[in-house]
Each structure stands twice: as structure tokens, then as C-alpha cells.
């Protein structure tokens, strides 16, 4: 059908666009500036007062959250910054994992991105490596996270229940949560092996155990701190510095990834790069 070629072109353009945007983001984290549109008047949001409280007394984490301090989309790298890269420890990999990552190419990195391969970003990618906003809907007993990226969602019980004794791997894993004072602690295991924890090849094993600590210190700010344990891939557990999100006043947009119609093209790209061998 004729739409197929349209999709083909669109996907190719989208892929190139994604690659450009992706490299722009990567460049941003390493300090260089991507080209910007006309001047931005945005500035870092003030705290805005205390966080609203749910009926049960816990902070209400509900809201549309944008990464960084602008409370909205911005090209300004200072406002996009979610954490102090210098203060955050680097993951310490097991030698076998380090070797595998070292052997990866730039194409491998691109093919590992959710926005290119159309896989869900999963846990904890949604908090660690996600330039798109998400919306939290908190009800008594439930934490619902709606992700603009690939339009996925997760539903987490917050009543302190135990893990499923026999979970199936899932991109959002088997997740349970409880409140520790004003912090929601989300504990996740059984994460689908296709997720990555950074944009440069940090894969994980079936032993990965993720703890996300989410809190809302003020009206306008959400902080998330992530700990990853993975004895097969990491030499020791890794904990992020607190990552910052700010409250937006706009709705999520629809985002469906349809690049997955052209899987064969990506494979060909990869084969070409590796000189025909897999």
C-alpha cells in the first residue's frame, strides 16, 4: 500500500531526526551546546511553597513533570540540567560487562534508544534517561506514571505489598512501593533485559534490582534518586545523585514510535558498519 513508502521515508527522516536530537542531548550532557531557537525567557522555577498533601498526609506527587528546572520544554542547557554530573558516581562495571560495553559502536548506542527502536524506556530509564515529560497521577494506594515517551504507563501499588513470587520480565518490571516518611520508595525487579540505564550501553542482567526514591520537596519540584544493584553487571551498587523535575502547566502530547516498521533497515545499517559480520 502506498502509505508504506510514506512511512518508510517518514521513519527514515524520523530516525535521522532522532539521531540528531539524540546526539544533541548527549552533547548537552557533555557540555557543548546544540543550536537554539530564538531567545528563551524561561528561568528556573522557584520552589513555590510547600508540596500539596494527599488525604492520607503523604505529599501528592501528581502533576506533569519536565526534566530540569524550567517547568516546561526548553533548549536552555542550564535549565535542562537535572543533576550535577560531576557529583554523580560513575557505575563500576564487572570486567565482562565493561568489555562488552567497550566493544559497542555509536550505531549500537543509537539502536539502544527507546525513541529509535520503539521499545519502552522502562525502569529506571523513565527517570534516568528521559528528556520527555511524564504525568504522575496519585490516588490512595496507587502511583500511576504516564510517560509521554512512547505513550507507555506504569501502575504501582503503594501499600507496601511484596513482590510477585514468580514475576515475568517486563519493561517496567515487577514493582511495589511503600512510603518512607515523605518519600515514595519504588522497588523493582524482573526487568526486561532490553532496557538500558544510560545512552551508552549500560545493559543489565536478570538480577537487576532498582530502587527509586521519589519525593516532592516543594510545590514546583520533584526529585528522584535511583539505586541500581546488579551483581552480574555492576561491581557494586550504584546510586544517582537526586535528579530534578519541575512542575509543568501543559498536557502531555501523544508520542507513538513507529520506527519499528523498518527494523530491517536498521539491521542493514548495523551489518554495514560491522563489515557484514554480526
Amino acid at each position: 500500500m502506498k502509505k508504506r513508502w510514506g512511512f518508510c521515508l517518514a521513519a527514515a527522516v524520523a530516525a535521522v531526526g532522532m539521531l540528531c536530537m539524540a546526539s544533541g542531548l548527549a552533547a548537552q550532557e557533555s557540555g557543548s551546546q546544540p543550536a537554539q531557537p530564538a531567545k528563551s525567557k524561561q528561568q528556573a522555577l522557584p520552589p513555590g511553597g510547600p508540596a500539596p498533601r494527599a488525604a492520607d498526609g503523604h505529599p501528592d506527587l501528581s502533576g506533569v513533570w519536565f526534566g530540569g528546572t524550567a517547568g516546561g520544554f526548553t533548549y536552555n542547557p542550564a535549565l535542562r540540567r537535572q543533576f550535577d554530573a560531576k557529583a554523580e558516581e560513575a557505575p563500576q562495571f564487572q570486567p565482562s560487562a565493561a568489555a562488552k560495553i567497550k566493544a559497542m559502536t555509536q550505531t549500537d548506542y543509537e539502536l539502544g534508544r527507546a525513541s529509535v527502536n520503539c521499545l519502552p524506556r522502562g525502569v529506571p530509564g523513565m527517570f534516568l534517561i528521559n528528556p520527555y515529560p511524564f504525568q504522575i497521577v496519585q490516588t490512595p494506594g496507587l502511583f500511576v506514571q504516564l510517560d509521554e515517551l512512547n505513550n507507555n504507563f506504569r501502575v504501582v501499588h503503594t501499600d507496601g505489598r511484596a513482590h510477585n513470587p514468580d514475576p515475568d520480565p517486563a519493561f517496567d518490571g515487577d514493582e511495589v512501593a511503600h512510603w518512607d516518611g515523605d518519600t515514595l520508595v519504588i522497588d523493582t525487579i524482573s526487568i526486561d533485559e532490553r532496557t538500558w540505564n544510560n545512552f551508552t550501553g549500560w545493559f543489565h542482567s536478570d538480577q537487576e534490582h532498582v530502587i527509586e526514591r521519589v519525593t516532592r520537596p516543594s510545590l514546583n519540584y520533584l526529585t528522584v534518586q535511583v539505586t541500581i544493584e546488579d551483581p552480574k553487571v555492576l561491581a557494586k551498587p550504584w546510586t544517582s545523585t537526586p535528579r530534578v523535575w519541575t512542575l509543568g502547566h501543559e498536557d502531555l502530547l501523544e508520542y507513538y514510535c513507529t520506527n519499528n516498521q523498518e527494523v530491517e533497515q536498521y539491521k542493514a545499517l548495523k551489518d554495514k558498519e560491522s563489515g557484514g559480520k554480526k
Partner: protein, 324 residues
């Protein structure tokens, strides 16, 4: 979820086989916190609960209507309400008979042999299957196309395996995704969560604003449209516009134009939601296409299972137009 069409005799045999092999699930009827103690509701995806549904008005759609007796029984439960007095639509509504039927799989007593119980297709499509597919295209409540579109829709429906965008991992979109799997309702908006059943959009959501706003004209057309909702008495009325035009409304080649406009209504009574959609398309339809289904509340702890991502491998190997 993916029960296959099979004749009566093998069905009974299959049922017996399943019953003999499938261990009864522990706590299948957990009623933790569930007000309703007298109605057996078991539309949980994780539990071995049978679900019988049908397409009573001949829409050709896979969203099943539960048996009337089950609907009546489930209506008798108390209706939860929000603080503002409106019915609370929150809950797990089990995808209205997408086929989340009994887990068919089985394991032998020694644990060594596992069967999925999927019936073999044989070398070619069975007569029964062909008849069922024909019925799907001849129901009483099919989309009311203008005469100039009928041939094209028929062609697309018959050649679905080559023409359906969803087969190539394009999102199904709304309303093809059907009724919501799960609803989370908060004061200013209602969130619909979907298990899209093998579709490329995996687990999709829709946010329906209920704070009185109108449509946002600046939005791009989308697969799920732009939804605004308001209450009319005890019915949530959702107006959905601004769709892309390259999705289908069903597996039967039901195309639509960019003029599509959907009004979706939900009315909760007890543990039942009466779900009605009216699909208007002034360019392609002679009148609105109205579909009604009843959703029955599932188990307390039920949620949409995470759906896997889509990768297309089959297209180049298809040798005929056999449909599923």
C-alpha cells in the same frame, strides 16, 4: 486471551483437558476490599476465569458483550461515588472480552510437559473459520459507509493481512483499541489505561480533561484524538476529535477520514459500566456508527498486563490472504 475458534466437540474435549490439567488458582475469588460479596466477578487477567462474550449486534469487532445475566448481577453492587457526587469510574474493567478467557495452558502432574492448548490450524483455513470471517463482514451493525466507499472497505477487509496498518506495527489508535482496560479518576481528569492486545502501542493511555476546557485547536492530529469530558447527570460524556486518518476502526478494513468525531459515554451502575461510542464521519458515513458494550469490574488487584513491543517479521512470508 487468544482463545481460538473451534467446533463444539473439540471445545468440550479441550475444556475437559484444561480442567484436568490446570490447577485451580489459589485465591481466585479474592474479595479483599471488594464491597460486592455476592457476585462472582472474575475478569482478572491473571486468574483462570472463564469469560463468555459475543458480538450481539454484528459489529465484526472483537470487544465482547458479557452475558446479560452477568451484567444484571454485577449491577446490583453498590455504585462508588466521587466526592462531587458523580459515579467513580475508577477500576479495572477487563478489556470487555478481548478474549481474556481462561488460561488455556496446562502442565502435566510431573511438571515436565507444558501445553499452550492452542489448536493446530492444519494446512489451510477450516470451513468454520471461513464462515466466521464471512459473518464478521455481514453483521447487522457494520460501519455505515456511503456507497462510494463500500467496495474499497470490502477489499481492505478481505485483504487485511496485507493491508492492515496495525499488522505493520502502526498503532491501532482510538476507537479501535476499544473500551478502557482500567480507569483512574481524579477530580480534574479521567485517565484511561489500555492493554492494547498485541498492538504496537503496547500499553497506551488517554487523558480526558474534565475541568470544563474545550478542545485545543493547536494540537496535531493524533492516533488517540483529543478528548474533553463533562458530566451529563451520571454519564461521563467524552468528545473526541482531531484524529489522524490512516488508522482502521476494525480489522475489517474500516477506514475513516480526518472528519471523524467520536462521542464516548460511560455510565456506571454497580460494577458495570455501560460504554457507548458514536462514531461520526461526515465524509464517509451516512450516519453515526453506534456501538454499545457493557464492562464488568474485574478483580480488585487487576491491572493491564504490560504488552510487548511490536516488531514485524511476517509480511514477506505471506503466501495468501488468509485472515485471523
Amino acid at each position: 486471551m487468544n482463545a481460538r475458534v473451534i467446533g463444539w466437540i473439540p471445545a468440550i474435549g479441550l475444556a475437559v483437558g484444561v480442567l484436568c490439567l490446570v490447577p485451580a488458582p489459589a485465591g481466585a475469588q479474592t474479595k479483599s476490599g471488594n464491597d460486592n460479596k455476592s457476585v462472582t466477578v472474575g475478569y482478572g487477567l491473571d486468574k483462570d476465569q472463564p469469560f463468555a462474550g459475543a458480538d450481539p449486534d454484528g459489529t465484526g469487532l472483537p470487544w465482547k458483550e458479557p452475558p446479560a445475566a452477568e451484567i444484571e448481577a454485577a449491577k446490583k453492587a453498590p455504585t462508588p461515588h466521587l466526592a462531587d457526587g458523580h459515579p467513580d469510574l475508577t477500576g479495572f474493567w477487563a478489556p470487555a472480552g478481548w478474549g481474556y478467557a481462561v488460561t488455556q495452558g496446562g502442565v502435566t502432574a510431573d511438571g515436565k510437559t507444558r501445553y499452550t492448548q492452542r489448536a493446530a490450524e492444519g494446512p489451510a483455513q477450516s470451513v468454520d473459520k471461513k464462515r466466521e470471517l464471512k459473518n464478521r463482514l455481514e453483521g447487522a451493525n457494520l460501519p455505515p459507509y456511503k456507497p462510494e466507499f463500500v467496495e474499497k472497505v470490502k477489499y481492505l477487509g478481505e485483504h487485511q493481512s496485507h493491508e492492515d496498518p496495525a499488522f505493520k506495527c502502526a498503532p491501532k489508535g482510538f476507537p479501535r483499541v476499544g473500551p478502557p482496560t482500567e480507569i483512574v479518576q481524579v477530580p480534574k481528569e479521567t485517565v484511561f489505561l489500555y492493554d492494547t492486545v498485541n498492538s504496537s502501542e503496547q500499553n497506551a493511555f488517554r487523558i480526558v480533561s474534565t475541568d470544563g476546557r474545550g478542545h485545543d485547536q493547536s494540537l496535531n492530529p493524533s492516533f488517540y484524538g483529543d478528548s474533553v469530558g463533562h458530566w451529563e447527570g451520571d454519564t461521563m460524556v467524552i468528545d473526541v476529535t482531531n484524529f489522524v486518518d490512516d488508522t482502521w476502526l476494525s480489522q475489517n478494513g474500516a477506514i475513516h477520514s480526518d472528519a471523524m468525531h467520536v462521542v464516548e459515554k460511560l455510565t456506571r451502575e454497580g460494577n458495570v459500566i455501560d460504554w457507548v461510542i458514536s462514531i461520526e464521519d461526515t465524509k464517509m458515513f451516512t450516519r453515526p456508527w453506534v456501538i454499545e458494550r457493557h464492562l464488568i469490574h474485574g478483580l480488585q488487584s487487576g491491572h493491564a498486563l504490560e504488552e510487548a513491543p511490536c516488531v514485524e517479521h511476517d509480511y514477506s512470508h505471506l503466501v495468501n490472504d488468509d485472515r485471523n
